[in-house]
Subunit: 281 residues, 2 copies
């Protein structure tokens, strides 16, 4: 399958949905905050997480519209984390994807609040009806469970926890267990939960959701290791590039094995794992 | 009724529940973040918002345990907002309630992340079962709706929006409509939704929930105006102290009128409005 074309198509769907949930441009007070939120979410980004969610939904034969709010919510969480990570008290970055970071463009106070507002918007979005139609009681209960899993992956036991440990090790080399903690939490948890809730909200069975969650964990770790190989950082620095490459290959094989039972419907998930491994984007 | 004793009793219940939801002290990685979260939530605070939620539940004859997770979640949101407001890029405060602010004690990066983690924890808490027992489908659907209302009150159309407008007016005087926007959003929205979801999750009828939401809006505004009178700021500065006092009296009367139909069960809500008006604490 042509994964680039698949990504393009899915990304366009996601971007369309994202725009519906964001506060519109020029919609009154507080306009600076609205603009900063839109800037943080709409200036680039491959939408890897929402596309994973949609591909996972596809694998279990679900409907994209049941997953889209969660997919957008996860992208809002990813965006907020980048805005806060770039702040002077964190990584102090001036540029992201070739453009000024949110705080360089809108000021630190507005960037801080834009991050807070995006994180909050993620949960509004997860709790909102799709296309204006009220949720059935059953669908609402599923949403609540999906939301709980997303919040868990984003919070102190997930992404923010990983970020805190990463910050604590600035300027010194973490040992392997610490590095694994950072990798599975800082970036891995949100990637894993993207695939998981895609399968869950798509109506997957318990064992299907489990398999796709495992796939997501492998892809999340793969994502980080490929980053490390490209930057000669983290894993690649600690165990060497050849070893890290071998680890990446193992993770890729694992990820693909988990989605094998889904046959043709799991094709996009398998191709996405290849894509993360190749990192040609 | 003895409102001080009532507040004490309810506050103890809330604090007990809050401790269950917070990451425990000394519970492994990332311990600095855990400590900062606990510090932000557990060092003082009157728990006005959770107590309002519990009193609203009482007014509709509901069970406190159905409301407690939402009550704690709202306190986590309130706590995160204080941590972020105190940061150098916002109000740059060194002390809160006579102790060092979170960033003075734990560093700016940890304080930022502790705020993020508390906001996320609020939604984990709102989505979690009470006392470990799984939620019925019906209860889960109610939780999702309560969560949506809380997220709405906390985000860009509520608290964060009010905060952004307030920051934009630093160093110049806002006009009356702007000041009203700030008051109803920055502090008012979260107070109003506390009462509202307390009634909603307590099983109140549509018209009961509406009345208590109106009560909450009046109390939220009252809270801010009393603050302004004490500080000779905002409202009191713009329309003068005697006018602001009159406004406060009107709001108190309004709030009490809304809860009159609840009779004896609404006694705590009425007493809480009096208490906010007197601000003897």
């Amino acid at each position: 399958m042509d994964i680039t074309r698949y990504l393009e198509r899915r990304r366009a769907e996601v971007d369309k949905a994202i725009r519906k949930f964001l506060p519109p441009h020029g919609a009154g007070k507080p306009s600076g905050l609205h603009d900063a939120m839109r800037y943080a979410v709409l200036s680039g980004g491959k939408r890897v997480r929402p596309v994973l969610a949609l591909a996972a939904c596809e694998a279990v034969g679900g409907r994209a519209r049941d997953v889209m709010p969660a997919a957008c919510a996860i992208e809002f969480i990813h965006s907020y984390s980048l805005v806060h990570d770039d702040l002077p008290c964190m990584d102090d970055d001036d540029e992201r994807r070739g453009s000024p970071t949110c705080h360089r463009k809108f000021g630190e106070d507005t960037a801080l609040l834009a991050g807070d507002a995006l994180l909050t918007l993620a949960f509004t979005t997860l709790a909102s009806p799709t296309n204006g139609a009220a949720l059935t009681t059953r669908a609402a209960a599923r949403r609540l469970e999906a939301l709980r899993r997303v919040a868990d992956a984003a919070g102190v036991h997930g992404m923010v926890g990983g970020q805190a440990v990463d910050m604590a090790y600035q300027g010194r080399e973490p040992d392997l267990p610490t590095l694994e903690y950072i990798n599975t939490h800082k970036s891995g948890a949100l990637i894993a939960v993207s695939a998981e809730v895609g399968a869950y909200l798509g109506g997957g069975t318990l064992s299907q959701v489990r398999a796709i969650h495992r796939y997501g964990r492998a892809v999340g770790l793969l994502f980080q290791i490929v980053d490390d190989i490209l930057d000669r950082e983290g894993y690649a620095k600690l165990i060497g590039v050849p070893e890290a490459r071998k680890e990446a290959q193992d993770l890729l094989a694992k990820a693909k094995k988990y989605v094998e039972p889904f046959g043709g419907k799991g094709r996009a998930l398998a191709a996405l794992a290849d894509f993360v491994f190749m990192r040609t984007y």
